[in-house]
Symmetry: C2
């Protein structure tokens, strides 16, 4: 079958998004991203059909987006489906912590398999950690041994996540319901 023109129902009808991204992604790039967001293993051939390009053109764009680091195609663990507990941890750093101690701390926790996200905040808290474990009480124990007496950490608050409705830009289907 010949590659079709852009299917009308898949056109990006969101001018706002187009405006925001125009510095790096044009509309075709964004549609490639959206297709990969749905299915990261979609073949370049199908990708091309979806966005109205030949396989090679679609492929080149995908590769470019990946090489520039604008998109990443990866596998994620769906904690909700794996009956795992997960929580967000808001860390306030010690006010007198020096850069080196902080760097060491970050380096240390980056390699923790049970911490799947680390972000820096500007505001009420300094750091966000996201952790997973078998149960909430395991999360508590884990965090205590990791953060309790660390030079870099002032205090921390843990908030369990009870349900995720949307993640990775994607509405989640199931849940435990």
């Amino acid at each position: 079958m010949a590659p079709q023109a852009t299917p009308p129902n898949e056109r990006l009808n969101n001018d706002k998004v187009k405006q925001i991204l125009k510095k790096h992604l044009d509309e075709t790039d964004y549609r490639i991203y959206k297709a990969l967001n749905e299915d990261g293993r979609m073949s370049d051939t199908e990708l091309g059909e979806r966005v109205g390009l030949s396989r090679t053109a679609a492929r080149r764009r995908r590769k470019n987006l990946e090489e520039k680091g604008l998109i990443d195609v990866l596998g994620v663990l769906v904690l909700q489906e794996a009956d795992l507990a997960y929580a967000d941890v808001f860390v306030t750093l010690n006010s007198d912590v020096d850069t080196e101690t902080l760097e060491e701390f970050l380096e240390e926790i980056k390699h923790e398999e049970l911490i799947y996200e680390i972000g820096e905040y500007m505001g009420q808290y300094d750091l966000l950690l996201r952790v997973w474990h078998a149960s909430l009480s395991d999360i508590n124990t884990f965090l205590r041994s990791l953060l309790q007496d660390h030079d870099a950490v002032g205090q921390y608050e843990t908030i369990p996540v009870t349900k995720t409705h949307k993640a990775w830009h994607k509405t989640l289907s199931g849940g435990t319901e």
Copy 2:
């Protein structure tokens, strides 16, 4: 070349993780996940070589993990690389909000292209939203029009994320540095 036995340097040397996941994933499954977490488009052939299985066996396991919803392979936008602003929003719901209004609210924001995550908290806040936009001030304007006078929303606090060190279980390479 014949499929090799498990390369020693790639074995999962983390008993804690093995214990936590044993209900759903065995060690080979977890190694498949870790490989896909590095590169979601890795071929089943390479996957098989990495974990010491034939292409078909590796493929079957991958498919199973995807079908059970335990892992998902998808494309993500790396906001940090796209010069976009992003922030976390902690929402406290109105104390007198009824289930229906809440459901409607969730349904409404699920389809917002600029909201890439929605989670329910148990604790100090009720909801976490993660938003992106061209700039922080755009985020502010966007949130005001979305949340300000909504029946479901009591108050909300926005905290900009200034840097992400780890996301999707993966240490991020670049940054703007």
